[in-house]
């Protein structure tokens, strides 16, 4: 087997040194009746050539953003990724290493995490960022658990315009614990109403922009939350928006969490992506996940280490801030490289381009006679009301090579025949024009 270096002679010599007659004898601590006496029923071994052919055949059965005009987002976004990102994360020193437990031989990973923490703090308007969580949904659940620890209260007021899968994961995480979820209603403009917040409310959780694409007034929500002594937790599912919208931390958000897949991480059918969490320094000891800090070495040279580890499960065990151990290191590396390449200028241009493309699409859809039900401004995603069942429109678009958006029937049934449409920098004017034509329907 090509991954195994042992020759028969090696095995004989090693067994002799160990004092065992054969490989099977190494397993005598397993009671005989539990030792498997048959071969596993898994497919026979395949050569590299065969594996490639087999996986290419499987991959070919999936629609993907490289071969369609793509307007489907809803928390997983199609953005262009500069070639340098994959080239650099393919360095074996990055992808075949592990958590930087030994800082002297992990400074590359540690410095990159420190750079990520710095950039995320700047983008979110916060003072401390962790070294990633699994995804936006679980990061949101972790942020709420953190807010509950900080506030020592038991009610969580959740915007009804939170991504339904984030809501689902939050419910799963809280199911065993004695907390209460309250839903904040949506106004007719598509934004969350700051009602039903009281002195028992631990935190108000809103998504920015929200699931329906609307940009929330975070300052007003922060004001309403803080007036009752509650924290504002802001979840961000489209991280590119951070380069254009007022930083949540600057608007009063106490914890910012979410999904940074848009920073150079492939959609990959939903993962691996990149959960993040940033907060105020005053709450640093309640932050879940790993943190990297600056220090000096024995010669007085600057270096980086994992720090404040007493928060974590390997030391505090059942009283840790989270059970998380392995996180999304390599995705963090992709995002750090993506942000470094774009920098101040590129990130701003990218965000503005997303806005411009989406605004153009909105204008075209309106011109085609379709309704955009929400008056609140949007970033690169918005709801469009159709004149037919959304699945029918989606099928017609697909037949023309267009993936037109997300059918909201299952998620927000009260909107009727509605689509969530995402327009990123990858959409050409021509493809947006085709989208408007196909969604306007046979009658247009």
């Amino acid at each position: 087997m090509r991954y195994l270096p042992h020759t028969d002679a090696d095995i004989r010599e090693m067994l002799a040194r160990v004092g065992q007659p054969d490989l099977g004898a190494l397993f005598e601590s397993i009671p005989a009746q539990f030792r498997l006496t048959r071969a596993l029923d898994v497919p026979a071994a395949a050569s590299e050539y065969e594996i490639l052919a087999e996986f290419e055949a499987l991959a070919a059965q999936n629609e993907h953003a490289g071969a369609r005009a793509w307007f489907l987002g809803a928390g997983v976004h199609h953005h262009f990724v500069p070639s340098a990102v994959d080239a650099l994360i393919s360095r074996a020193e990055f992808y075949t290493s592990y958590t930087p437990y030994q800082p002297e031989i992990s400074q590359g990973t540690l410095q990159a995490i420190f750079e990520w923490q710095t950039m995320l703090c700047g983008l979110t308007g916060q003072e401390v960022s962790n070294a990633s969580l699994y995804d936006g949904a679980s990061a949101t659940a972790e942020a709420v658990l953190m807010a509950l620890r900080v506030s020592k209260r038991r009610k969580v007021a959740v915007s009804s315009a939170l991504h339904p899968h984030y809501r689902g994961v939050l419910e799963t995480y809280l199911a065993a614990l004695d907390f209460e979820l309250i839903t904040l209603r949506r106004g007719s403009d598509g934004r969350t109403l700051p009602s039903a917040i009281d002195r028992e409310t631990a935190c108000v959780l809103v998504q920015q922009p929200n699931f329906l694409g609307c940009i929330e007034d975070l300052r007003a929500l922060a004001h309403a939350a803080h007036a009752q002594g509650a924290l504002l937790v802001t979840a961000v599912a489209e991280a590119i928006s951070l380069a254009l919208l007022a930083a949540p931390g600057d608007c009063g958000a106490d914890i910012v969490c979410g999904e940074a897949q848009s920073f150079g991480v492939p959609m990959a059918f939903g993962g691996p992506h990149l959960g993040f969490l940033t907060a105020r320094m005053a709450h640093v000891r309640q932050v879940p996940g790993r943190l990297v800090g600056e220090t000096l070495d024995a010669d007085g040279q600057r270096g980086y280490v994992l720090t404040l580890s007493t928060r974590e499960q390997h030391i505090r065990r059942e009283r840790a801030t989270s059970n998380i151990c392995t996180n999304q290191g390599l995705c963090l590396m992709m995002a750090t490289i993506f942000l470094a390449l774009h920098g101040k200028t590129g990130m701003r241009q990218l965000a503005e381009r997303n806005l411009a493309k989406a605004e153009y699409a909105k204008a075209r859809l309106r011109a085609a006679g379709l309704t955009l039900p929400f008056a609140a401004p949007s970033f690169n995603e918005f709801v469009v009301q159709l004149r037919e069942p959304a699945d029918r429109a989606l099928a017609r678009a697909r037949a023309q090579g267009i993936v037109a958006g997300l059918d909201l029937a299952k998620f927000v049934p009260e909107l009727g025949d509605a689509l969530l449409v995402c327009v990123t920098e990858t959409a050409s004017r021509a493809s947006i024009d085709r989208l408007a034509t196909v969604l306007a329907g046979a009658g247009a």
């Binding site: 030792r35 928390g75 290493s97 030994q102 995804d135 419910e171 799963t172 774009h342 990218l350």
Partner: protein
């Protein structure tokens, strides 16, 4: 001169922000073909003007920056990386290639099942393989890492009892367990009861029976345990737990010692997670992403996270999100799919014989290494080990050299240190897992290094205590980092 670590051609490298110069940019957007929009005019105070914290660099500077940083890391592709319990085996390159195929890498989780049949087929087949390997009946691929798998598993145990109207409040965890076990149970609101391992390093039915009551939801157990020792009494222990209505959670961190040789499901485990980045060779990525699928016996299948993949009578694959007692959703989408693709490619490459062979050679390597260093390092338990071994610094007592010093000195010999000071039940533990990827001569060189350090601890302890000597950074001051945390760069210093 020690070992094969030499001074290479290497660079110091400032932070991105210190390299930044106004006016540089490492990307160019395509020509804009739609009207420009002024964000200020459209969004007013909802928009921002400044982007603090982002640097300004050209593409070449960014590439050099990260290439230089990469050279500061140890990695499996550079050499032996014997982190116990982490299973730093070789990461096959074909796995990277197939995961990047556009039909996987650029697929969207909201694309309908009819348009993603290749992915669903892969899910279905991987689930079947994992179930067969572990002796479980169903598997969810959704958890993003082992710890999230534990969380899911304990949630299913909790839901199972709740469904029976059975309010149980405690979970048993052996004292040798990973910290994630008690942390995951605590996230489910359970009180943790620690069960002491016996003097032979394994758990005994009597100790479990004494802790077991009608109030205990279950036991979490790692097998082989964190000492690398098979839990010989596991089947009996499972009987003890089951007899009182409890369930047994299997931490699959060490499943790589059993694949093709024995199956947790046959031993009585009810629910377990798989660490695809350990057993199934997906790369560790500098700290993830991993993937933590969870297998369950049929009795728990109704509690699985949703959705799960089913094969319809016509041979097509469908999502099913209507499990009656599902604990719900754990991930925003379908889990760390890129890792699932890689793990499946690994299983396809090895096949039934290769998977078993890998297990046997991993165990042979750990036993061979232990045989080579026994005598120079204290072996706290006499029981035979499987895929990893634990030794201690006891024989170095009096030299002033501790486990940490041995670990740091290994770096000078060109090796990543083993896991140190774990499990907690062993003082000064060095937990060594060479994996099946290492050749005999590679193990011999590593053993020679460990023996040389043990010798050096007696002849020149100061050199060991001040190691590493050849790295770009010497020992780092963790106390300073924790006392006055500097967690981001700020212009002009913090």
């Amino acid at each position: 001169m020690t070992g094969n670590a030499t001074r290479g051609f290497s660079y110091e490298e400032d932070l991105l922000f210190e390299r930044s110069r106004p006016g540089r940019c490492g990307v160019e957007l395509p020509r804009n073909d739609v009207p420009e929009v002024d964000p200020r005019a459209l969004l007013g105070a909802l928009s921002r003007d400044e982007l603090p914290g982002l640097p300004e660099l050209s593409e070449v500077e960014v590439v050099r920056h990260f290439t230089r940083l990469s050279t500061w890391n140890a990695a499996v592709d550079l050499g032996l990386y014997p982190l116990g319990s982490c299973t730093m085996k070789y990461n096959p390159k074909i796995n990277e290639k197939v995961a990047r195929l556009p039909g996987f890498a650029h697929a969207h989780p909201f694309s309908p099942a009819s348009e993603t049949q290749g992915l669903l087929a892969l899910f279905f087949e991987l689930e079947r393989c994992l179930a067969e390997i572990s002796g479980m009946d169903r598997v969810t691929l959704q958890p993003a890492a082992g710890a999230q798998g534990e969380l899911a598993g304990i949630m299913m145990i909790r839901a199972y009892h709740a469904q029976r109207g059975d309010k149980r409040t405690k979970v048993l965890v052996p004292d040798s367990a990973h910290g994630t076990n008690p942390a995951s149970a605590a996230l489910n609101g359970y009180e943790i009861v620690s069960v002491a391992s016996g003097s032979d390093g394994i758990l005994h039915p009597k100790a479990v029976a004494e802790a077991m009551s009608d109030d205990v939801a279950g036991l979490m157990i790692t097998n082989p345990n964190t000492l690398g020792i098979f839990e010989t009494h596991l089947a009996e222990i499972c009987d003890v737990v089951h007899a009182k209505g409890g369930l047994v959670y299997g931490d699959g961190a060490n499943l790589n010692a059993l694949v093709g040789v024995a199956r947790p499901g046959d031993l009585g485990i009810d629910v377990m997670h798989f660490n695809l980045h350990k057993t199934f060779s997906t790369p560790h990525g500098g700290g993830g992403p991993g993937a933590g699928p969870v297998g369950v016996k049929a009795s728990l299948a109704a509690y699985l996270p949703t959705p799960v993949v089913e094969r319809a009578a016509d041979g097509t694959y469908q999502w099913n999100d209507a499990l009656p007692h599902s604990i719900g959703r754990l991930h925003g989408n379908h889990g760390n799919v890129g890792m699932l693709v890689r793990a499946h490619a690994y299983i396809r490459a090895l096949g039934p014989d290769g998977l078993k062979r890998a297990t046997q050679l991993a165990v042979l390597n750990a036993n061979y290494l232990l045989a080579r260093i026994r005598g120079a390092y204290h072996v706290p338990y006499a029981n035979p080990v499987l895929h990893e071994c634990v030794v201690t610094d006891r024989m170095l007592a009096g030299t002033g050299v501790s486990t940490l010093d041995v670990a740091k000195r290994l770096i000078d010999h060109g090796y990543h240190p083993p896991t140190v000071y774990f499990p907690l039940i062993v003082n000064g533990a060095l937990m060594i897992e060479p994996t099946e990827s290492e050749s005999k001569e590679g193990l011999d060189r590593f053993a020679d290094a460990l023996l040389a350090i043990a010798e050096e601890a007696h002849t020149d302890p100061e050199t060991v205590r001040s190691a590493p000597h050849h790295t770009r950074r010497r020992r780092l001051d963790e106390t300073r980092a924790a006392r006055k945390p500097v967690l981001r760069w700020q212009p002009g210093g913090a």
